[in-house]
Symmetry: C2
Subunit: 216 residues, 2 copies
Protein backbone atom coordinates (compact mmCIF):
# COMPACT_ATOMS: atom_id res chain seq x y z
CA UNK A 1 0.00 0.00 0.00
CA UNK A 2 1.41 3.36 -1.00
CA UNK A 3 1.70 5.51 2.08
CA UNK A 4 2.00 9.26 1.88
CA UNK A 5 1.73 11.47 4.94
CA UNK A 6 -1.25 13.80 5.10
CA UNK A 7 -0.26 17.42 5.07
CA UNK A 8 -3.67 18.75 6.08
CA UNK A 9 -4.17 18.96 9.81
CA UNK A 10 -7.97 19.04 9.57
CA UNK A 11 -9.83 17.76 6.53
CA UNK A 12 -13.02 19.53 7.60
CA UNK A 13 -11.28 22.87 7.03
CA UNK A 14 -10.44 21.96 3.42
CA UNK A 15 -12.84 23.03 0.69
CA UNK A 16 -15.29 20.42 -0.58
CA UNK A 17 -13.49 20.46 -3.96
CA UNK A 18 -10.06 20.03 -2.33
CA UNK A 19 -11.37 17.14 -0.22
CA UNK A 20 -12.70 15.44 -3.37
CA UNK A 21 -9.32 15.99 -5.09
CA UNK A 22 -7.51 14.37 -2.15
CA UNK A 23 -10.00 11.51 -2.06
CA UNK A 24 -9.42 10.81 -5.78
CA UNK A 25 -5.63 11.08 -5.54
CA UNK A 26 -3.06 8.30 -5.09
CA UNK A 27 -2.55 9.31 -1.47
CA UNK A 28 -3.91 6.60 0.84
CA UNK A 29 -5.64 9.15 3.04
CA UNK A 30 -8.20 10.59 3.12
CA UNK A 31 -9.99 7.49 1.87
CA UNK A 32 -13.19 5.58 2.41
CA UNK A 33 -13.08 5.90 6.20
CA UNK A 34 -13.12 9.69 6.06
CA UNK A 35 -15.78 9.58 3.35
CA UNK A 36 -17.90 7.36 5.61
CA UNK A 37 -17.66 9.87 8.45
CA UNK A 38 -18.57 12.78 6.17
CA UNK A 39 -21.60 10.91 4.84
CA UNK A 40 -22.70 10.23 8.40
CA UNK A 41 -22.19 13.91 9.26
CA UNK A 42 -24.26 14.89 6.21
CA UNK A 43 -27.02 12.59 7.43
CA UNK A 44 -26.99 14.20 10.87
CA UNK A 45 -26.87 17.70 9.31
CA UNK A 46 -29.94 16.95 7.17
CA UNK A 47 -31.86 15.75 10.24
CA UNK A 48 -30.97 19.11 11.80
CA UNK A 49 -32.17 20.92 8.65
CA UNK A 50 -35.57 19.22 8.78
CA UNK A 51 -35.88 20.14 12.48
CA UNK A 52 -34.74 23.72 11.90
CA UNK A 53 -37.34 24.16 9.13
CA UNK A 54 -40.08 22.71 11.35
CA UNK A 55 -39.33 24.59 14.60
CA UNK A 56 -40.99 28.00 15.02
CA UNK A 57 -43.85 27.37 12.59
CA UNK A 58 -47.32 27.55 14.09
CA UNK A 59 -48.54 24.72 11.87
CA UNK A 60 -46.07 22.34 13.49
CA UNK A 61 -46.36 23.60 17.06
CA UNK A 62 -47.50 20.14 18.20
CA UNK A 63 -44.08 18.65 17.39
CA UNK A 64 -42.01 21.69 18.42
CA UNK A 65 -40.63 20.12 21.60
CA UNK A 66 -39.81 16.85 19.85
CA UNK A 67 -38.03 18.73 17.04
CA UNK A 68 -36.00 20.76 19.55
CA UNK A 69 -34.91 17.59 21.34
CA UNK A 70 -34.13 15.95 18.00
CA UNK A 71 -31.96 18.80 16.69
CA UNK A 72 -29.95 18.80 19.93
CA UNK A 73 -29.21 15.10 19.35
CA UNK A 74 -28.47 15.45 15.64
CA UNK A 75 -26.10 18.36 16.23
CA UNK A 76 -24.17 16.36 18.84
CA UNK A 77 -23.98 13.48 16.42
CA UNK A 78 -22.82 15.77 13.60
CA UNK A 79 -19.96 17.09 15.78
CA UNK A 80 -19.03 13.53 16.69
CA UNK A 81 -19.04 12.33 13.06
CA UNK A 82 -17.11 15.37 11.85
CA UNK A 83 -14.39 14.57 14.41
CA UNK A 84 -14.25 11.05 12.96
CA UNK A 85 -13.08 12.36 9.60
CA UNK A 86 -9.60 12.98 10.98
CA UNK A 87 -9.66 10.18 13.54
CA UNK A 88 -9.85 7.76 10.63
CA UNK A 89 -6.75 9.25 9.00
CA UNK A 90 -4.85 9.11 12.30
CA UNK A 91 -5.82 5.48 12.86
CA UNK A 92 -4.61 4.57 9.36
CA UNK A 93 -1.35 6.47 9.86
CA UNK A 94 -0.78 4.66 13.16
CA UNK A 95 -1.15 1.27 11.46
CA UNK A 96 1.24 2.26 8.66
CA UNK A 97 3.77 3.61 11.20
CA UNK A 98 3.61 0.34 13.17
CA UNK A 99 4.22 -1.76 10.04
CA UNK A 100 7.18 0.52 9.30
CA UNK A 101 8.93 -0.21 12.63
CA UNK A 102 12.32 -2.00 12.47
CA UNK A 103 12.38 -5.79 12.70
CA UNK A 104 16.12 -6.41 12.98
CA UNK A 105 16.18 -8.65 16.05
CA UNK A 106 13.68 -10.52 18.20
CA UNK A 107 13.14 -7.59 20.58
CA UNK A 108 12.38 -5.28 17.65
CA UNK A 109 10.11 -7.87 16.09
CA UNK A 110 8.18 -8.28 19.33
CA UNK A 111 7.85 -4.52 19.77
CA UNK A 112 6.69 -4.16 16.17
CA UNK A 113 4.11 -6.94 16.51
CA UNK A 114 2.74 -5.35 19.67
CA UNK A 115 2.59 -1.91 18.03
CA UNK A 116 0.75 -3.35 15.02
CA UNK A 117 -1.81 -5.05 17.27
CA UNK A 118 -2.38 -1.84 19.25
CA UNK A 119 -2.77 0.16 16.03
CA UNK A 120 -5.13 -2.41 14.48
CA UNK A 121 -7.27 -2.33 17.60
CA UNK A 122 -7.61 1.45 17.28
CA UNK A 123 -8.22 1.07 13.55
CA UNK A 124 -11.09 -1.29 14.41
CA UNK A 125 -12.51 0.85 17.21
CA UNK A 126 -12.54 4.07 15.13
CA UNK A 127 -14.74 2.81 12.26
CA UNK A 128 -16.85 0.85 14.77
CA UNK A 129 -17.57 4.09 16.62
CA UNK A 130 -18.30 5.77 13.27
CA UNK A 131 -20.73 2.96 12.40
CA UNK A 132 -22.45 3.37 15.81
CA UNK A 133 -22.91 7.10 15.16
CA UNK A 134 -24.22 6.45 11.63
CA UNK A 135 -26.72 3.96 13.10
CA UNK A 136 -27.78 6.64 15.57
CA UNK A 137 -28.23 9.09 12.67
CA UNK A 138 -30.48 6.54 10.93
CA UNK A 139 -32.63 6.36 14.07
CA UNK A 140 -32.87 10.17 14.24
CA UNK A 141 -33.81 10.36 10.55
CA UNK A 142 -36.86 8.18 11.29
CA UNK A 143 -38.19 10.75 13.79
CA UNK A 144 -37.47 13.56 11.29
CA UNK A 145 -39.26 11.59 8.55
CA UNK A 146 -42.29 10.89 10.72
CA UNK A 147 -42.75 14.31 12.31
CA UNK A 148 -40.91 16.90 10.22
CA UNK A 149 -42.36 19.66 8.03
CA UNK A 150 -43.55 17.81 4.88
CA UNK A 151 -42.20 20.64 2.69
CA UNK A 152 -38.65 19.52 3.51
CA UNK A 153 -39.31 15.86 4.19
CA UNK A 154 -37.18 14.73 1.23
CA UNK A 155 -34.18 15.95 3.23
CA UNK A 156 -35.03 13.31 5.87
CA UNK A 157 -34.87 10.75 3.05
CA UNK A 158 -31.46 12.00 1.97
CA UNK A 159 -30.41 11.93 5.65
CA UNK A 160 -31.20 8.23 6.00
CA UNK A 161 -29.45 7.30 2.72
CA UNK A 162 -26.33 9.29 3.70
CA UNK A 163 -26.21 7.74 7.18
CA UNK A 164 -26.77 4.24 5.76
CA UNK A 165 -23.95 4.71 3.23
CA UNK A 166 -21.73 5.88 6.12
CA UNK A 167 -22.65 2.80 8.16
CA UNK A 168 -22.00 0.26 5.38
CA UNK A 169 -18.76 2.07 4.49
CA UNK A 170 -17.44 2.17 8.05
CA UNK A 171 -18.30 -1.54 8.34
CA UNK A 172 -15.80 -2.37 5.57
CA UNK A 173 -12.97 -0.86 7.60
CA UNK A 174 -14.04 -2.88 10.65
CA UNK A 175 -14.05 -6.09 8.57
CA UNK A 176 -10.54 -5.39 7.25
CA UNK A 177 -8.86 -4.62 10.54
CA UNK A 178 -10.63 -7.16 12.70
CA UNK A 179 -9.27 -9.95 10.50
CA UNK A 180 -5.68 -9.24 11.55
CA UNK A 181 -6.38 -8.94 15.28
CA UNK A 182 -4.89 -11.56 17.59
CA UNK A 183 -7.18 -10.71 20.52
CA UNK A 184 -9.96 -13.10 19.53
CA UNK A 185 -12.37 -11.98 22.25
CA UNK A 186 -12.14 -8.36 21.14
CA UNK A 187 -12.32 -9.34 17.45
CA UNK A 188 -15.44 -11.46 17.98
CA UNK A 189 -17.15 -8.72 19.98
CA UNK A 190 -16.34 -6.16 17.25
CA UNK A 191 -17.58 -8.52 14.51
CA UNK A 192 -20.80 -9.21 16.37
CA UNK A 193 -21.44 -5.54 17.03
CA UNK A 194 -20.83 -4.41 13.44
CA UNK A 195 -23.03 -7.19 12.05
CA UNK A 196 -25.84 -6.19 14.41
CA UNK A 197 -25.50 -2.51 13.46
CA UNK A 198 -25.49 -3.32 9.73
CA UNK A 199 -28.46 -5.70 10.01
CA UNK A 200 -30.49 -3.10 11.91
CA UNK A 201 -29.54 -0.40 9.38
CA UNK A 202 -30.47 -2.64 6.44
CA UNK A 203 -33.89 -3.24 7.98
CA UNK A 204 -34.57 0.37 9.00
CA UNK A 205 -33.35 2.28 5.93
CA UNK A 206 -35.99 1.13 3.38
CA UNK A 207 -38.72 1.64 6.02
CA UNK A 208 -37.63 5.23 6.66
CA UNK A 209 -37.25 5.94 2.93
CA UNK A 210 -40.81 4.64 2.43
CA UNK A 211 -42.12 6.92 5.20
CA UNK A 212 -40.52 9.85 3.37
CA UNK A 213 -41.94 8.85 -0.04
CA UNK A 214 -45.42 8.56 1.46
CA UNK A 215 -45.15 12.11 2.85
CA UNK A 216 -43.68 13.80 -0.29
CA UNK B 1 -41.23 26.72 2.66
CA UNK B 2 -38.79 29.21 4.11
CA UNK B 3 -36.75 30.69 1.31
CA UNK B 4 -33.45 32.41 1.90
CA UNK B 5 -31.07 33.35 -0.89
CA UNK B 6 -27.74 31.60 -0.96
CA UNK B 7 -24.83 33.96 -0.49
CA UNK B 8 -22.17 31.47 -1.55
CA UNK B 9 -21.50 31.46 -5.25
CA UNK B 10 -19.93 28.01 -5.29
CA UNK B 11 -20.57 25.48 -2.54
CA UNK B 12 -17.59 23.37 -3.64
CA UNK B 13 -15.28 26.23 -2.59
CA UNK B 14 -16.70 26.24 0.95
CA UNK B 15 -14.96 24.19 3.60
CA UNK B 16 -16.44 20.79 4.43
CA UNK B 17 -17.35 22.11 7.89
CA UNK B 18 -19.03 25.24 6.46
CA UNK B 19 -20.99 23.11 3.99
CA UNK B 20 -22.21 20.90 6.84
CA UNK B 21 -23.20 24.01 8.83
CA UNK B 22 -25.20 25.33 5.87
CA UNK B 23 -26.80 21.95 5.31
CA UNK B 24 -27.94 21.81 8.94
CA UNK B 25 -29.21 25.40 9.01
CA UNK B 26 -32.74 26.71 8.45
CA UNK B 27 -31.76 27.93 4.98
CA UNK B 28 -33.53 25.87 2.32
CA UNK B 29 -30.35 25.54 0.27
CA UNK B 30 -28.01 23.79 0.17
CA UNK B 31 -30.21 20.79 0.96
CA UNK B 32 -30.62 17.17 0.00
CA UNK B 33 -30.11 17.80 -3.72
CA UNK B 34 -26.64 19.24 -3.18
CA UNK B 35 -25.87 16.49 -0.66
CA UNK B 36 -26.88 13.91 -3.30
CA UNK B 37 -24.48 15.42 -5.84
CA UNK B 38 -21.62 15.50 -3.32
CA UNK B 39 -22.20 11.86 -2.41
CA UNK B 40 -22.12 10.96 -6.10
CA UNK B 41 -18.91 12.97 -6.53
CA UNK B 42 -17.40 11.15 -3.53
CA UNK B 43 -18.30 7.85 -5.18
CA UNK B 44 -16.60 8.88 -8.43
CA UNK B 45 -13.57 10.21 -6.49
CA UNK B 46 -13.17 6.88 -4.67
CA UNK B 47 -13.27 4.97 -7.97
CA UNK B 48 -10.45 7.28 -9.10
CA UNK B 49 -8.55 6.57 -5.86
CA UNK B 50 -8.72 2.80 -6.42
CA UNK B 51 -7.49 3.28 -10.01
CA UNK B 52 -4.72 5.67 -8.97
CA UNK B 53 -3.48 3.18 -6.37
CA UNK B 54 -3.53 0.34 -8.92
CA UNK B 55 -1.90 2.11 -11.88
CA UNK B 56 1.91 1.96 -12.07
CA UNK B 57 2.33 -1.14 -9.90
CA UNK B 58 4.00 -4.09 -11.60
CA UNK B 59 1.74 -6.53 -9.78
CA UNK B 60 -1.33 -5.05 -11.47
CA UNK B 61 0.19 -4.45 -14.92
CA UNK B 62 -2.44 -6.73 -16.49
CA UNK B 63 -5.22 -4.27 -15.61
CA UNK B 64 -3.21 -1.08 -16.16
CA UNK B 65 -4.99 -0.09 -19.38
CA UNK B 66 -8.41 -0.82 -17.95
CA UNK B 67 -7.60 1.23 -14.83
CA UNK B 68 -6.39 4.16 -16.96
CA UNK B 69 -9.60 4.11 -19.00
CA UNK B 70 -11.65 3.81 -15.81
CA UNK B 71 -10.01 6.76 -14.06
CA UNK B 72 -10.59 8.95 -17.13
CA UNK B 73 -14.30 8.12 -16.90
CA UNK B 74 -14.54 8.52 -13.13
CA UNK B 75 -12.78 11.90 -13.23
CA UNK B 76 -15.21 13.15 -15.90
CA UNK B 77 -18.08 11.94 -13.78
CA UNK B 78 -16.66 13.59 -10.67
CA UNK B 79 -16.46 16.95 -12.49
CA UNK B 80 -20.02 16.50 -13.71
CA UNK B 81 -21.36 15.63 -10.25
CA UNK B 82 -19.44 18.45 -8.57
CA UNK B 83 -21.09 20.89 -11.00
CA UNK B 84 -24.46 19.48 -9.94
CA UNK B 85 -23.97 20.71 -6.38
CA UNK B 86 -24.70 24.27 -7.45
CA UNK B 87 -27.05 23.38 -10.31
CA UNK B 88 -29.40 21.95 -7.68
CA UNK B 89 -29.39 25.18 -5.69
CA UNK B 90 -30.07 27.21 -8.85
CA UNK B 91 -32.95 24.96 -9.86
CA UNK B 92 -34.50 25.32 -6.41
CA UNK B 93 -34.04 29.10 -6.46
CA UNK B 94 -35.71 29.26 -9.89
CA UNK B 95 -38.77 27.40 -8.58
CA UNK B 96 -39.03 29.68 -5.55
CA UNK B 97 -38.62 32.78 -7.73
CA UNK B 98 -41.41 31.58 -10.05
CA UNK B 99 -43.79 30.95 -7.12
CA UNK B 100 -42.95 34.47 -5.93
CA UNK B 101 -44.08 36.15 -9.19
CA UNK B 102 -47.09 38.53 -8.97
CA UNK B 103 -50.55 37.09 -9.61
CA UNK B 104 -52.62 40.32 -9.68
CA UNK B 105 -54.45 39.80 -12.97
CA UNK B 106 -55.01 37.01 -15.49
CA UNK B 107 -51.94 37.92 -17.58
CA UNK B 108 -49.73 37.84 -14.49
CA UNK B 109 -51.31 34.58 -13.35
CA UNK B 110 -50.67 32.99 -16.76
CA UNK B 111 -47.07 34.20 -16.81
CA UNK B 112 -46.53 32.91 -13.28
CA UNK B 113 -48.02 29.50 -14.09
CA UNK B 114 -45.79 29.22 -17.17
CA UNK B 115 -42.70 30.26 -15.19
CA UNK B 116 -43.51 27.71 -12.47
CA UNK B 117 -43.86 24.93 -15.06
CA UNK B 118 -40.56 25.89 -16.73
CA UNK B 119 -38.81 25.98 -13.35
CA UNK B 120 -40.32 22.65 -12.25
CA UNK B 121 -39.16 21.05 -15.49
CA UNK B 122 -35.59 22.21 -14.80
CA UNK B 123 -35.97 21.11 -11.17
CA UNK B 124 -36.89 17.64 -12.48
CA UNK B 125 -34.16 17.48 -15.13
CA UNK B 126 -31.37 18.52 -12.72
CA UNK B 127 -31.84 15.69 -10.16
CA UNK B 128 -32.60 13.26 -13.00
CA UNK B 129 -29.22 14.09 -14.55
CA UNK B 130 -27.63 13.73 -11.08
CA UNK B 131 -29.28 10.31 -10.71
CA UNK B 132 -27.98 9.26 -14.15
CA UNK B 133 -24.43 10.24 -13.13
CA UNK B 134 -24.74 8.42 -9.80
CA UNK B 135 -25.91 5.31 -11.70
CA UNK B 136 -22.85 5.66 -13.94
CA UNK B 137 -20.65 5.93 -10.83
CA UNK B 138 -22.18 2.67 -9.54
CA UNK B 139 -21.26 0.96 -12.82
CA UNK B 140 -17.68 2.28 -12.60
CA UNK B 141 -17.39 1.11 -8.98
CA UNK B 142 -18.11 -2.46 -10.17
CA UNK B 143 -15.05 -2.38 -12.45
CA UNK B 144 -12.94 -0.89 -9.64
CA UNK B 145 -14.22 -3.61 -7.25
CA UNK B 146 -13.48 -6.42 -9.69
CA UNK B 147 -10.06 -5.32 -10.94
CA UNK B 148 -8.59 -2.82 -8.46
CA UNK B 149 -5.65 -3.30 -6.11
CA UNK B 150 -7.06 -5.45 -3.26
CA UNK B 151 -5.16 -3.33 -0.69
CA UNK B 152 -7.57 -0.45 -1.36
CA UNK B 153 -10.60 -2.44 -2.47
CA UNK B 154 -12.68 -1.25 0.49
CA UNK B 155 -12.64 2.18 -1.16
CA UNK B 156 -14.53 0.66 -4.12
CA UNK B 157 -17.13 -0.50 -1.59
CA UNK B 158 -17.43 2.99 -0.13
CA UNK B 159 -17.67 4.30 -3.71
CA UNK B 160 -20.70 2.17 -4.51
CA UNK B 161 -22.47 3.04 -1.24
CA UNK B 162 -21.86 6.78 -1.78
CA UNK B 163 -23.08 6.65 -5.39
CA UNK B 164 -26.14 4.61 -4.40
CA UNK B 165 -27.02 7.09 -1.64
CA UNK B 166 -26.65 9.88 -4.22
CA UNK B 167 -28.95 8.05 -6.65
CA UNK B 168 -31.72 7.35 -4.11
CA UNK B 169 -31.44 10.92 -2.80
CA UNK B 170 -31.64 12.55 -6.24
CA UNK B 171 -34.64 10.34 -6.99
CA UNK B 172 -36.59 11.99 -4.15
CA UNK B 173 -36.22 15.38 -5.81
CA UNK B 174 -37.42 13.93 -9.12
CA UNK B 175 -40.50 12.43 -7.40
CA UNK B 176 -41.35 15.77 -5.77
CA UNK B 177 -41.10 17.97 -8.84
CA UNK B 178 -42.55 15.57 -11.38
CA UNK B 179 -45.80 15.48 -9.41
CA UNK B 180 -46.54 19.13 -10.11
CA UNK B 181 -45.70 19.02 -13.84
CA UNK B 182 -48.55 19.57 -16.29
CA UNK B 183 -46.63 18.11 -19.27
CA UNK B 184 -47.78 14.54 -18.73
CA UNK B 185 -45.59 13.07 -21.48
CA UNK B 186 -42.45 14.59 -19.97
CA UNK B 187 -43.53 13.67 -16.45
CA UNK B 188 -44.17 10.05 -17.41
CA UNK B 189 -40.84 9.76 -19.21
CA UNK B 190 -39.03 11.23 -16.18
CA UNK B 191 -40.88 8.88 -13.80
CA UNK B 192 -40.06 5.85 -15.94
CA UNK B 193 -36.42 6.79 -16.25
CA UNK B 194 -35.89 7.41 -12.53
CA UNK B 195 -37.64 4.18 -11.59
CA UNK B 196 -35.42 2.24 -14.02
CA UNK B 197 -32.26 3.91 -12.66
CA UNK B 198 -33.28 3.20 -9.05
CA UNK B 199 -34.23 -0.43 -9.78
CA UNK B 200 -30.90 -1.04 -11.54
CA UNK B 201 -29.01 0.64 -8.67
CA UNK B 202 -30.89 -1.43 -6.07
CA UNK B 203 -29.94 -4.62 -7.88
CA UNK B 204 -26.30 -3.70 -8.56
CA UNK B 205 -25.27 -2.16 -5.22
CA UNK B 206 -25.43 -5.29 -3.01
CA UNK B 207 -23.68 -7.30 -5.76
CA UNK B 208 -20.79 -4.82 -5.94
CA UNK B 209 -20.56 -4.60 -2.14
CA UNK B 210 -20.35 -8.41 -2.03
CA UNK B 211 -17.56 -8.41 -4.62
CA UNK B 212 -15.65 -6.00 -2.38
CA UNK B 213 -16.23 -8.06 0.78
CA UNK B 214 -14.98 -11.17 -0.99
CA UNK B 215 -11.75 -9.37 -1.96
CA UNK B 216 -11.04 -7.72 1.45
Amino acid sequence: MSFQPVVNAMIKDESVAAFLDQLASRASTPGGGSAAAIMGAMGAALVSMVCNLTIGKEKYAAVEDEMKALVAESENLRADLTAHVNADVQAFDQVMAAYGLPKGDDAEKAARTAAIQTALRTATEVPLACARSCAAAIALSRRAAELGNPNVISDAGVAVMAAYAGLKSAALNVYINVGALKDEAFATAARNEIEALVAAGEAATPEIYAIVRARL
